[in-house]
Subunit: 475 residues, 2 copies
């Protein structure tokens, strides 16, 4: 507890890393570019997994597990795919003390091994749709890494679906994008812009890549999840055909979609402050922590007992923890749980017990409120809901305040130095996209789905543009 | 559905593989020795995970995630450990297009990387005990593999705990062994013998390895879980010391413990029959399947509606599925759900509706029972409980019937051909242990914890033996 957290305003990067290390969310691993997710961080991932997994199952998906190692030849079957991923692969050359006859790649993503299996499993239209998800680790060799946001190994889920028609596959791509958007906004309290990536930014092997993009507190964008319409690319690469009801053999249409432990980084950077982490109540493993306060041993028994009674009352509806450790003082505990981002703290001392009241302290606004013990369950419920809502509203207000519609390149160049989201007209040419990036380090994050079909002139070349795109510097 | 399942009595190995492939639990992967766990199989693993995870958390453990790749030098820090695992490792030599300066091993188990991290995290007695579990994939290059039982890559959990005293660490080792035993017996309905491994069979790097051993239907043993007391071995290898309350610097005491997807293989081989899988109700994702029966379209609506009504009534207490697919006949569905091992089937037709009855068919005994619709919830509850109990009792009876206490080597040699569990006297010498194995392929599975301290003469050399050991051929 000795080292202070760097202030966001002083150095945003250091602040981010300080939060992670001080709150013991993750640690650097001895293997370059890898991380250890510590229990405090893994707990957040478990909550995310459990919510997302429920959403996947409600939309008809089932989990499975495919091998970690992919033969090099598989990766090569889809031209764009191998070009995108081969340079990032970790390669196994020896196993069981012998050199292997073929190199094996640690999966950077599993399309190739999964579509190899699908070629065995899919024969008839009755086998479709095939809706499978996998929770696993993947590896992409990274030069410049940052805890949670970009590490060589990370945890994620990858959905891989197979469909009889193009329409169904496109529908699935959008459905899962919307699942991600719902999760980001309703659970992470993190507003996102959803849209489609440009040709140069799409997933290697995809026809279209859809994305959700969030604004961090330094006004940079973070890609929080992607959903790919893969067309017939992988079906053709792995010769996956099915006999349709009309008797004809047809290629299968595919999608894939994924989110990763990167979401933990997004969560931190979206809500936290100079005191530490701020967790939205829906993703907090501990939503409420009760800190009993006493002077001298004589008082302690009664106060601790009361704290546990309150826990008993609350635990049906909320995830509650009593911090009754004797070796730490209340002030230390307050700091500790604020650092950990626990949404609500209940303070209770001997005088409170006499007066039949407790103090509720909300983490996000650091406001305190005295409430009667009798109405505690109701008040806790209201406050948690209010915290969840306020986190979203604040993040959304922040994003709106820092989103700009700009038509003059000079204005954009001036403003982008301070970061933010920019709605610009773009003609659709690679060259203009590269120019934006080359000059400003900002990239086209997506063509927003809700973008009005407003025609205009490309901010770079002045050619016609059918609609505005979202431009920002990004993680 | 065309290919029949090989009979257990004809070929037990083929029967086992047939169940797995026909019930679509797993498939061979294109990478040698690896498997794909298909949704029907993964569902069983998810149930196992959820129960075990709850038990780990109740005993104070938290989950974390450590890197997949371990520097070769780490593995070498504990002499026995590297000797045991290095020959089985898959080795990453290249990453990001370059040869690595140090080879990285895909974790065969994570003691070394975890104790490297513990050396950073543990300083004071206040940091202890440290109780961490990890759910992950591991890899051990195997020459002869069998789906679920022995594959190069498998999924497991590995607990790694650090303690201030030897006593606490030993207590933890036994506590987790008992958690495994409870899980095996109460959830998997699989009786196990718990005991300690001999010196030659223990985990590389452990002081003591405890095990639970189950009898399969071919009377061979299967090691279903292990819990290791690691002494100070890893603390010394990674220099993990703590300052005790008395001010002295001391080495930390360690345990580790794990179970894997091998348990799915055990579950299959313990209970299933020639019709397919048999799942204990507590681990079945679908506990009850309702099959509506009708002739002609006119009847179908009413029967399907009634099936869903029953589901509505049952779903609060049980995991229920209605199979209302129009394209399959009831007989086909019966076979399919029997193959899948669903504990209970409810059949309902138009006449049943008139008579206010349904037919309950239990998977294990393949018995049918007619019950009034009014008492269906009660009857389903009773039957599921009865199935869970009967599976355990049958497995236990089978084990008792095939467990022998033998004192003459000739008798043992004759009987072991037919397999079974044997309680033999053993003097404790490696040489006698090797002789048993060399002659009969049977191994000392463990020295059972509940074994009475009965002295006798070693079945091989005739020297004094302090107690009987459990000997069996094993998977």
């Amino acid at each position: 507890m000795s080292k202070k957290i760097t202030k966001r305003s002083d150095n945003y990067s250091d602040w981010y890393i300080d939060i992670i290390t001080r709150a013991q969310l993750a640690d650097y691993a001895p293997v370059k570019g890898c991380m250890v997710i510590r229990p405090n961080g893994y707990e957040i991932w478990e909550k995310m997994q459990s919510v997302l997994d429920g959403m996947f199952k409600e939309t008809g998906h089932r989990n499975a597990y495919f091998p970690l190692l992919i033969p090099e030849s598989f990766l090569k079957k889809e031209a764009e795919h191998v070009e995108g991923f081969a340079p990032e692969c970790a390669v196994v050359t020896h196993g069981g003390g012998k050199k292997l006859s073929e190199n094996l790649m640690i999966r950077p993503t599993s399309e190739t091994i999964i579509w190899n299996m699908y070629s065995r499993w899919i024969n008839s239209h009755r086998d479709l749709p095939l809706l499978i998800n996998q929770w696993c680790n993947v590896m992409r060799w990274e030069m410049r890494t940052r805890l949670f946001l970009r590490t060589s190994e990370f945890l994620w889920q990858e959905g891989h679906t197979a469909h009889a028609t193009k329409e169904e596959a496109v529908e699935e791509t959008i459905r899962m994008l919307e699942v991600y958007k719902t999760f980001a906004e309703e659970y992470m309290a993190m507003p996102v812009v959803d849209g489609v990536k440009t040709e140069s930014e799409k997933f290697p092997g995809a026809v279209d890549t859809y994305t959700i993009e969030a604004m961090m507190q330094d006004k940079k964008a973070l890609q929080a999840g992607t959903s790919h319409f893969l067309g017939e690319n992988f079906a053709k690469a792995f010769d996956v055909q099915f006999q349709d009801a009309d008797g004809a053999r047809k290629y299968v249409w595919a999608t894939s979609w994924g989110v990763s432990t990167r979401l933990i980084g997004a969560l931190i950077m979206c809500h936290s402050d100079d005191q530490g982490l701020i967790l939205p109540p829906k993703l907090a493993t501990k939503q409420v922590v009760i800190v009993p306060i006493w002077k001298g041993d004589a008082e302690s028994g009664k106060v601790i007992e009361c704290a546990h009674k309150i826990k008993e009352e609350l635990k049906e509806k909320f995830r509650v923890h009593v911090d009754d450790r004797l070796q730490y003082k209340p002030g230390w505990k307050f700091n500790e749980w604020e650092l950990q981002g626990i949404p609500l703290r209940i303070e209770i001392g001997p005088r409170d017990i006499e007066n039949r009241v407790v103090v509720l302290a909300r983490r996000d606004k650091r406001e305190k409120l005295q409430v009667p013990i009798e109405s505690i369950s109701e008040e806790v419920g209201k406050l948690l809901q209010s915290i969840q809502n306020d986190l979203f509203t604040n993040a959304k207000d922040f994003r709106e305040k820092n989103t700009f519609t700009v038509d003059q390149y000079s204005e954009f160049e001036e403003k982008v130095v301070e970061n933010g989201f920019f709605h610009l007209h773009w003609c659709g040419k690679d060259l203009c996209e590269e120019k934006i990036k080359g000059k400003t380090k900002a990239t086209i994050r997506c063509i927003p789905r809700d973008s009005a079909k407003e025609s205009g002139k490309c901010i770079i070349c002045g050619d016609n543009s059918p609609q505005r795109v979202l431009v920002s510097r990004a993680y």
